[in-house]
Protein backbone atom coordinates (compact mmCIF):
# COMPACT_ATOMS: atom_id res chain seq x y z
CA UNK A 1 0.00 0.00 0.00
CA UNK A 2 2.76 2.42 0.81
CA UNK A 3 6.21 2.66 -0.66
CA UNK A 4 8.94 0.95 1.32
CA UNK A 5 10.37 4.07 2.94
CA UNK A 6 7.05 4.88 4.42
CA UNK A 7 7.32 2.36 7.14
CA UNK A 8 9.03 2.36 10.42
CA UNK A 9 9.79 -1.17 10.90
CA UNK A 10 6.57 -2.89 9.88
CA UNK A 11 4.22 -0.21 10.84
CA UNK A 12 2.95 2.29 8.32
CA UNK A 13 3.80 5.88 9.00
CA UNK A 14 1.18 8.36 9.84
CA UNK A 15 0.44 10.43 6.72
CA UNK A 16 1.02 13.67 8.52
CA UNK A 17 4.37 12.49 9.73
CA UNK A 18 5.08 11.25 6.22
CA UNK A 19 4.32 14.66 4.91
CA UNK A 20 6.69 16.25 7.36
CA UNK A 21 9.41 13.80 6.47
CA UNK A 22 8.96 14.55 2.79
CA UNK A 23 9.35 18.18 3.47
CA UNK A 24 12.50 17.74 5.48
CA UNK A 25 14.02 15.52 2.87
CA UNK A 26 13.18 17.87 0.07
CA UNK A 27 14.40 20.81 2.17
CA UNK A 28 11.62 22.79 0.71
CA UNK A 29 11.16 26.17 2.29
CA UNK A 30 8.41 26.12 4.80
CA UNK A 31 5.26 27.98 4.05
CA UNK A 32 5.98 30.36 6.83
CA UNK A 33 9.09 30.95 8.87
CA UNK A 34 12.66 30.25 7.97
CA UNK A 35 14.51 27.24 6.66
CA UNK A 36 16.87 27.63 9.52
CA UNK A 37 14.27 27.21 12.20
CA UNK A 38 14.23 23.66 13.43
CA UNK A 39 10.85 23.92 15.02
CA UNK A 40 7.88 23.78 12.69
CA UNK A 41 5.23 26.35 13.18
CA UNK A 42 2.46 25.03 15.30
CA UNK A 43 -1.01 25.94 14.41
CA UNK A 44 -2.61 28.26 16.89
CA UNK A 45 0.70 29.82 17.84
CA UNK A 46 0.62 33.50 18.54
CA UNK A 47 0.85 35.23 15.18
CA UNK A 48 3.33 37.86 16.34
CA UNK A 49 6.28 36.36 18.16
CA UNK A 50 8.68 38.61 20.02
CA UNK A 51 6.25 41.47 19.77
CA UNK A 52 7.32 43.03 23.03
CA UNK A 53 10.97 42.73 22.14
CA UNK A 54 10.40 44.29 18.75
CA UNK A 55 8.51 47.20 20.18
CA UNK A 56 11.16 47.84 22.78
CA UNK A 57 13.89 47.67 20.14
CA UNK A 58 12.03 50.22 18.05
CA UNK A 59 11.34 52.46 21.01
CA UNK A 60 14.89 52.22 22.25
CA UNK A 61 16.30 53.08 18.83
CA UNK A 62 14.09 56.10 18.41
CA UNK A 63 14.72 57.41 21.89
CA UNK A 64 18.48 56.91 21.54
CA UNK A 65 18.52 58.78 18.26
CA UNK A 66 16.76 61.76 19.72
CA UNK A 67 18.78 61.76 22.90
CA UNK A 68 22.09 61.48 21.11
CA UNK A 69 21.15 64.32 18.79
CA UNK A 70 20.27 66.38 21.84
CA UNK A 71 23.57 65.49 23.44
CA UNK A 72 25.46 66.69 20.39
CA UNK A 73 23.46 69.90 20.33
CA UNK A 74 24.22 70.54 23.95
CA UNK A 75 27.88 69.85 23.54
CA UNK A 76 28.03 72.22 20.59
CA UNK A 77 26.73 75.06 22.75
CA UNK A 78 29.33 74.52 25.41
CA UNK A 79 32.22 74.95 23.07
CA UNK A 80 34.38 78.01 23.62
CA UNK A 81 36.08 79.87 20.86
CA UNK A 82 39.62 79.40 19.86
CA UNK A 83 41.90 81.95 21.32
CA UNK A 84 42.75 83.44 24.60
CA UNK A 85 42.25 86.67 26.43
CA UNK A 86 44.81 88.14 28.71
CA UNK A 87 43.98 88.12 32.36
CA UNK A 88 40.99 85.86 32.01
CA UNK A 89 42.68 82.63 31.05
CA UNK A 90 40.94 80.56 33.65
CA UNK A 91 37.53 81.98 32.88
CA UNK A 92 35.82 80.02 30.11
CA UNK A 93 33.03 82.57 29.83
CA UNK A 94 32.95 84.33 26.49
CA UNK A 95 34.24 87.89 26.73
CA UNK A 96 31.75 90.53 27.73
CA UNK A 97 32.26 94.23 27.40
CA UNK A 98 34.48 94.44 30.43
CA UNK A 99 36.66 91.49 29.68
CA UNK A 100 37.30 92.58 26.12
CA UNK A 101 40.39 94.28 27.39
CA UNK A 102 42.32 91.92 25.31
CA UNK A 103 45.76 92.69 24.09
CA UNK A 104 47.58 95.89 24.94
CA UNK A 105 48.28 98.24 22.09
CA UNK A 106 51.96 97.82 22.56
CA UNK A 107 53.33 95.00 24.53
CA UNK A 108 54.99 97.12 27.17
CA UNK A 109 52.48 99.90 27.44
CA UNK A 110 49.42 99.05 29.50
CA UNK A 111 49.42 96.98 32.64
CA UNK A 112 46.63 94.45 32.98
CA UNK A 113 43.96 94.98 35.58
CA UNK A 114 44.86 91.97 37.65
CA UNK A 115 48.38 90.74 37.81
CA UNK A 116 48.34 87.15 36.71
CA UNK A 117 50.77 84.94 38.56
CA UNK A 118 53.80 83.84 36.58
CA UNK A 119 53.54 80.54 34.86
CA UNK A 120 52.02 78.67 32.00
CA UNK A 121 48.29 78.59 31.61
CA UNK A 122 46.25 76.44 29.36
CA UNK A 123 44.25 78.57 27.03
CA UNK A 124 40.75 78.02 25.87
CA UNK A 125 40.34 74.79 24.00
CA UNK A 126 37.95 74.37 21.14
CA UNK A 127 36.38 71.15 20.12
CA UNK A 128 34.88 71.02 16.71
CA UNK A 129 34.82 68.73 13.76
CA UNK A 130 38.45 69.34 13.23
CA UNK A 131 39.48 68.40 16.66
CA UNK A 132 40.92 70.16 19.63
CA UNK A 133 42.84 73.36 19.62
CA UNK A 134 44.47 74.55 22.75
CA UNK A 135 47.01 77.21 23.42
CA UNK A 136 49.28 77.65 26.35
CA UNK A 137 50.09 81.12 27.48
CA UNK A 138 53.12 81.90 29.59
CA UNK A 139 52.89 84.82 31.95
CA UNK A 140 55.83 86.63 33.41
CA UNK A 141 55.35 89.68 35.61
CA UNK A 142 51.80 89.95 34.51
CA UNK A 143 52.61 90.07 30.85
CA UNK A 144 52.30 87.36 28.27
CA UNK A 145 55.75 86.37 27.22
CA UNK A 146 55.02 83.35 25.15
CA UNK A 147 52.22 81.62 23.40
CA UNK A 148 52.50 77.96 22.61
CA UNK A 149 50.17 75.81 20.66
CA UNK A 150 49.60 72.81 22.84
CA UNK A 151 47.32 70.80 20.71
CA UNK A 152 45.90 71.32 17.33
CA UNK A 153 44.21 68.87 15.01
CA UNK A 154 46.29 66.68 12.84
CA UNK A 155 46.14 67.60 9.21
CA UNK A 156 45.17 64.20 7.94
CA UNK A 157 42.83 63.03 10.60
CA UNK A 158 39.60 61.32 9.88
CA UNK A 159 37.53 64.39 9.33
CA UNK A 160 34.89 64.40 6.70
CA UNK A 161 36.35 64.79 3.30
CA UNK A 162 33.61 66.09 1.20
CA UNK A 163 33.74 68.32 -1.76
CA UNK A 164 30.55 69.41 -3.29
CA UNK A 165 30.89 70.54 -6.83
CA UNK A 166 29.36 73.81 -5.91
CA UNK A 167 29.96 75.48 -2.59
CA UNK A 168 30.53 74.63 0.15
CA UNK A 169 33.74 72.71 0.26
CA UNK A 170 35.41 71.43 3.33
CA UNK A 171 38.99 72.10 4.13
CA UNK A 172 40.22 68.59 4.09
CA UNK A 173 43.87 69.33 3.96
CA UNK A 174 45.86 72.06 5.45
CA UNK A 175 48.53 73.32 3.13
CA UNK A 176 52.04 73.24 4.40
CA UNK A 177 53.38 76.77 4.34
CA UNK A 178 56.78 75.55 3.28
CA UNK A 179 55.42 73.69 0.33
CA UNK A 180 53.28 76.63 -0.69
CA UNK A 181 56.21 79.06 -0.47
CA UNK A 182 54.00 82.03 0.19
CA UNK A 183 55.28 85.55 0.54
CA UNK A 184 52.81 86.62 3.16
CA UNK A 185 49.99 85.26 5.27
CA UNK A 186 46.61 86.81 5.78
CA UNK A 187 44.91 85.88 9.00
CA UNK A 188 42.99 87.17 11.94
CA UNK A 189 44.87 89.98 13.60
CA UNK A 190 47.71 88.61 15.58
CA UNK A 191 49.09 90.52 18.48
CA UNK A 192 52.73 91.43 18.72
CA UNK A 193 53.10 88.50 21.05
CA UNK A 194 51.33 85.86 19.04
CA UNK A 195 53.10 87.18 15.97
CA UNK A 196 56.26 85.64 17.32
CA UNK A 197 54.89 82.15 16.91
CA UNK A 198 53.06 82.90 13.73
CA UNK A 199 53.78 81.80 10.20
CA UNK A 200 54.22 85.39 9.17
CA UNK A 201 57.14 85.82 11.50
CA UNK A 202 58.79 82.74 10.04
CA UNK A 203 58.39 84.27 6.60
CA UNK A 204 59.72 87.63 7.78
CA UNK A 205 62.68 85.98 9.43
CA UNK A 206 63.46 84.09 6.28
CA UNK A 207 63.32 87.29 4.28
CA UNK A 208 65.55 89.05 6.73
CA UNK A 209 68.00 86.18 6.68
CA UNK A 210 68.07 86.28 2.91
CA UNK A 211 69.46 89.74 3.31
CA UNK A 212 66.47 91.31 1.68
CA UNK A 213 67.39 94.26 3.79
CA UNK A 214 66.14 95.63 7.06
Amino acid sequence: MTTPHNTIGDRPIDPLLQHRLDQLIARAPLAAGSAVSPAPRLAGRRAKPARAAKLSALALSTVSTVMLAGLFAQHADNVDSIGFTTGTISDPVLPTATTAQTTPATVAATAPDTLVADGAYAGIADSNRWGNVQVQVVYSSGQITDVQIVQYPDGDNKSVRINARALPTLISESISAQRADVSTVSGATYTSVSYRVSLQSAIDNAKAAMGVGS
Binding site: S37, A50, R129, V160, R161, P168, T169
Partner: protein, 180 residues
Amino acid sequence: MNSWMWFLTRSTGIVAGVLGVASLVWGLYFSARNTGTRLKPNWWLALHNFLGGLTLGFIALHMLVSLLDTDIGLRFVDLLWPSSEVGWAIGWGVVAFWLFAIVVLPSVARIRRRLPRKAWHLAHLLAVPAVVLSGVHAYQTGSDSLSVWFTRGLALLVGISIYPLTVRLLGLAQHRRVAA
Protein backbone atom coordinates in the same frame (compact mmCIF):
# COMPACT_ATOMS: atom_id res chain seq x y z
CA MET B 1 18.35 74.15 11.47
CA ASN B 2 21.27 72.70 9.61
CA SER B 3 23.07 71.93 12.82
CA TRP B 4 20.18 69.78 13.90
CA MET B 5 20.37 67.87 10.66
CA TRP B 6 24.01 67.32 11.43
CA PHE B 7 23.29 66.12 14.95
CA LEU B 8 20.60 63.81 13.65
CA THR B 9 22.86 62.49 10.91
CA ARG B 10 25.35 61.48 13.53
CA SER B 11 22.83 60.05 15.95
CA THR B 12 20.92 58.04 13.33
CA GLY B 13 24.24 56.76 12.06
CA ILE B 14 25.27 55.62 15.50
CA VAL B 15 21.94 53.96 16.20
CA ALA B 16 21.98 52.28 12.78
CA GLY B 17 25.44 50.98 13.56
CA VAL B 18 24.38 49.58 16.90
CA LEU B 19 21.32 47.98 15.31
CA GLY B 20 23.49 46.47 12.60
CA VAL B 21 25.77 44.90 15.14
CA ALA B 22 22.81 43.71 17.17
CA SER B 23 21.28 42.08 14.09
CA LEU B 24 24.55 40.43 13.26
CA VAL B 25 25.12 39.13 16.76
CA TRP B 26 21.56 37.93 17.00
CA GLY B 27 21.89 36.13 13.71
CA LEU B 28 25.19 34.54 14.69
CA TYR B 29 23.87 33.35 18.02
CA PHE B 30 20.84 32.03 16.31
CA SER B 31 22.63 29.96 13.74
CA ALA B 32 25.65 28.79 15.65
CA ARG B 33 25.14 25.36 16.94
CA ASN B 34 27.74 25.85 19.61
CA THR B 35 26.09 28.65 21.43
CA GLY B 36 23.80 26.38 23.28
CA THR B 37 20.26 25.37 22.80
CA ARG B 38 18.03 28.10 21.72
CA LEU B 39 14.93 28.56 23.71
CA LYS B 40 12.08 29.98 21.76
CA PRO B 41 13.77 29.87 18.37
CA ASN B 42 10.83 31.65 16.87
CA TRP B 43 11.41 34.52 19.20
CA TRP B 44 15.06 34.79 18.26
CA LEU B 45 14.40 34.57 14.59
CA ALA B 46 11.53 37.03 14.63
CA LEU B 47 13.65 39.49 16.55
CA HIS B 48 16.62 38.98 14.25
CA ASN B 49 14.45 39.66 11.24
CA PHE B 50 12.98 42.72 12.87
CA LEU B 51 16.36 44.08 13.86
CA GLY B 52 17.59 43.58 10.33
CA GLY B 53 14.69 45.54 8.95
CA LEU B 54 15.08 48.21 11.59
CA THR B 55 18.76 48.54 10.74
CA LEU B 56 17.99 49.10 7.10
CA GLY B 57 15.31 51.57 8.10
CA PHE B 58 17.67 53.59 10.25
CA ILE B 59 20.33 53.49 7.58
CA ALA B 60 17.83 54.94 5.13
CA LEU B 61 16.91 57.60 7.68
CA HIS B 62 20.57 58.34 8.27
CA MET B 63 21.13 58.80 4.56
CA LEU B 64 18.09 60.97 4.13
CA VAL B 65 18.99 63.26 7.00
CA SER B 66 22.55 63.60 5.72
CA LEU B 67 21.05 64.88 2.47
CA LEU B 68 19.09 67.48 4.38
CA ASP B 69 22.22 68.79 6.02
CA THR B 70 23.21 71.09 3.21
CA ASP B 71 26.48 71.90 4.92
CA ILE B 72 27.80 68.51 3.98
CA GLY B 73 26.87 69.12 0.39
CA LEU B 74 25.87 65.64 -0.65
CA ARG B 75 23.92 65.03 -3.80
CA PHE B 76 21.38 62.25 -3.98
CA VAL B 77 23.57 60.28 -6.33
CA ASP B 78 26.33 60.36 -3.72
CA LEU B 79 24.14 58.25 -1.48
CA LEU B 80 23.96 55.55 -4.08
CA TRP B 81 27.41 55.58 -5.58
CA PRO B 82 30.78 56.33 -4.06
CA SER B 83 32.48 59.18 -5.82
CA SER B 84 35.98 60.50 -5.57
CA GLU B 85 34.57 63.95 -5.05
CA VAL B 86 32.82 62.86 -1.95
CA GLY B 87 35.59 60.62 -0.80
CA TRP B 88 35.90 57.12 0.56
CA ALA B 89 34.87 58.08 4.04
CA ILE B 90 31.34 58.38 2.70
CA GLY B 91 31.98 55.83 -0.01
CA TRP B 92 32.46 52.98 2.44
CA GLY B 93 29.15 53.91 3.96
CA VAL B 94 27.48 53.69 0.58
CA VAL B 95 28.95 50.26 -0.06
CA ALA B 96 27.87 49.15 3.41
CA PHE B 97 24.36 50.35 2.63
CA TRP B 98 24.19 48.24 -0.51
CA LEU B 99 25.52 45.22 1.32
CA PHE B 100 22.93 45.64 4.04
CA ALA B 101 20.26 45.98 1.38
CA ILE B 102 21.43 42.73 -0.21
CA VAL B 103 21.36 41.06 3.18
CA VAL B 104 17.97 42.27 4.31
CA LEU B 105 15.81 42.59 1.23
CA PRO B 106 16.18 39.06 -0.13
CA SER B 107 15.35 37.83 3.35
CA VAL B 108 11.86 39.20 3.09
CA ALA B 109 9.79 36.02 3.05
CA ARG B 110 8.28 36.51 -0.35
CA ILE B 111 11.59 37.06 -2.05
CA ARG B 112 13.45 34.46 -0.08
CA ARG B 113 11.06 31.74 -1.09
CA ARG B 114 12.01 32.22 -4.69
CA LEU B 115 15.72 32.02 -4.05
CA PRO B 116 17.72 28.83 -3.84
CA ARG B 117 18.87 28.50 -0.30
CA LYS B 118 22.55 28.55 -1.09
CA ALA B 119 22.25 31.79 -2.99
CA TRP B 120 20.30 33.37 -0.22
CA HIS B 121 22.77 32.16 2.38
CA LEU B 122 25.74 33.50 0.45
CA ALA B 123 24.07 36.87 0.14
CA HIS B 124 23.26 36.80 3.81
CA LEU B 125 26.91 36.32 4.68
CA LEU B 126 27.54 39.79 3.29
CA ALA B 127 26.25 41.00 6.62
CA VAL B 128 29.72 40.63 8.03
CA PRO B 129 31.52 42.90 5.56
CA ALA B 130 28.54 45.23 5.78
CA VAL B 131 29.08 45.71 9.50
CA VAL B 132 32.83 46.01 9.05
CA LEU B 133 32.50 48.69 6.39
CA SER B 134 29.99 50.55 8.52
CA GLY B 135 32.60 50.66 11.23
CA VAL B 136 35.18 52.00 8.79
CA HIS B 137 32.71 54.61 7.58
CA ALA B 138 31.92 55.63 11.13
CA TYR B 139 35.54 55.99 12.03
CA GLN B 140 36.52 57.89 8.90
CA THR B 141 33.73 60.39 8.83
CA GLY B 142 35.50 61.69 11.76
CA SER B 143 33.54 64.21 13.74
CA ASP B 144 32.99 61.84 16.56
CA SER B 145 36.06 59.74 16.04
CA LEU B 146 37.98 62.14 18.20
CA SER B 147 35.70 61.49 21.11
CA VAL B 148 36.95 58.85 23.49
CA TRP B 149 33.44 57.60 24.08
CA PHE B 150 32.99 57.04 20.41
CA THR B 151 36.17 55.12 19.80
CA ARG B 152 35.66 53.04 22.89
CA GLY B 153 32.08 52.35 21.91
CA LEU B 154 33.18 51.39 18.44
CA ALA B 155 35.81 49.05 19.84
CA LEU B 156 33.20 47.52 22.09
CA LEU B 157 30.86 46.90 19.17
CA VAL B 158 33.68 45.33 17.21
CA GLY B 159 34.45 43.08 20.15
CA ILE B 160 30.83 42.13 20.56
CA SER B 161 30.69 41.16 16.90
CA ILE B 162 33.92 39.24 16.80
CA TYR B 163 33.14 36.87 19.61
CA PRO B 164 30.09 35.14 18.20
CA LEU B 165 31.60 35.28 14.74
CA THR B 166 34.64 33.43 15.97
CA VAL B 167 32.51 30.91 17.80
CA ARG B 168 30.50 30.37 14.66
CA LEU B 169 33.56 29.93 12.47
CA LEU B 170 35.14 27.56 14.93
CA GLY B 171 31.91 25.63 15.06
CA LEU B 172 31.90 25.37 11.30
CA ALA B 173 35.48 24.21 11.26
CA GLN B 174 34.77 21.64 13.89
CA HIS B 175 31.71 20.51 12.03
CA ARG B 176 33.73 20.05 8.88
CA ARG B 177 36.37 18.10 10.72
CA VAL B 178 33.75 15.82 12.20
CA ALA B 179 32.07 15.34 8.86
CA ALA B 180 35.33 14.65 7.07
